[in-house]
């Protein structure tokens, strides 16, 4: 048996500073899956630069925590888009599912702001 036997799937109900986020998951050219999460948490913000040859591209980057139960059976992946209540669109660079024991807790999505 594993060490964690509890059910932590509703852990997000106790999160602070949550907000609503709408996800648009592009799976092929003809199909987009959407979901709405009312318990998303806007985490660290940073600036990061990407370089190519001598070109420097500096973006605003935002880390989002999105409860796994709000995402349902979908998976988040790079180039999926998240829209916050201000209408700003955040494009996922990298997404990781965080678990505790056998509970799916939340997706941790590193994003950049879409222009």
């Amino acid at each position: 048996m594993t060490g964690h036997q509890g059910n932590y799937s509703n852990d997000h109900l106790w999160w602070d500073n949550v907000e609503t986020l709408t996800g648009s998951l592009k799976r092929n050219n003809a199909s987009t899956v959407t979901f709405t999460s009312n318990y998303s948490f806007r985490g660290d913000m940073s600036r990061n630069a990407q370089t190519y040859l001598s070109l420097v591209v500096s973006d605003v980057e935002q880390l989002w925590s999105i409860p796994a139960s709000e995402v349902g059976d979908n998976e988040l992946m790079e180039t999926d888009e998240l829209t916050d209540t201000d209408g700003d669109v955040w494009v996922i660079d990298q997404a990781t599912l965080v678990t505790l024991g056998t509970s799916k807790l939340f997706w941790l999505a590193a994003t950049h702001k879409k222009r």
Binding site: Y52, S54, V57, S58, E78, D93
Partner: protein
């Protein structure tokens, strides 16, 4: 670099504002200025707006071959990058033909040419760089490049 800029402007490439968006830069930089309302805006001009743009900049170091040149002139190779840069929001097809045509046209115009108005330059050679940079594509940008090796024979002072 100004001679290369003049040549590229004269090509009037489709979709490029030749007057304003063929730019010479030391280090081309594109910066997202918008932060949330609570954070003061950062203004590190010159950002590259609007896109698309062609960016001309030096890259790396000059090359000097001690056995090249003439009795009275040294031969120096100047590496200049030519970047094709646009916003494409992770689209797999949008404007792809246009981007590749820009690249082909500039290469065909500059490769093995001389630079008019710059008497020291004896040859421009084009070395292809990455056609599409995947890391920047994931960031919602199109970036592809060429490297122009400009060979100059210069008298000693």
């Amino acid at each position: 670099m100004e001679a290369i800029q003049t040549i590229i402007k004269a090509l009037n490439l489709t979709g490029i504002d030749s007057t304003n968006n063929v730019l010479i830069r030391k280090v081309p930089r594109d910066i997202e200025k918008d932060m949330p309302p609570s954070v003061p805006a950062v203004d590190l001009t010159p950002a590259i707006t609007p896109l698309p743009a062609i960016l001309i900049a030096p890259i790396g170091a000059e090359q000097s071959d001690p056995v090249a040149g003439t009795l009275y002139r040294d031969q120096i190779n100047y590496p200049i990058q030519i970047l094709f840069y646009d916003q494409d929001n992770n689209d797999q097809e949008l404007n792809a033909d246009r981007y590749y045509l820009w690249r082909e046209t500039v290469r065909r115009k500059l490769n093995n040419s001389r630079l008019s108005g710059v008497s020291e330059v004896v040859r421009v050679r084009i070395e292809p760089a990455e056609i599409v940079n995947p890391a920047l594509w994931l960031k919602g940008r199109f970036a592809g490049g060429l490297k122009a090796i400009v060979t100059s024979r210069e008298s000693r002072l």
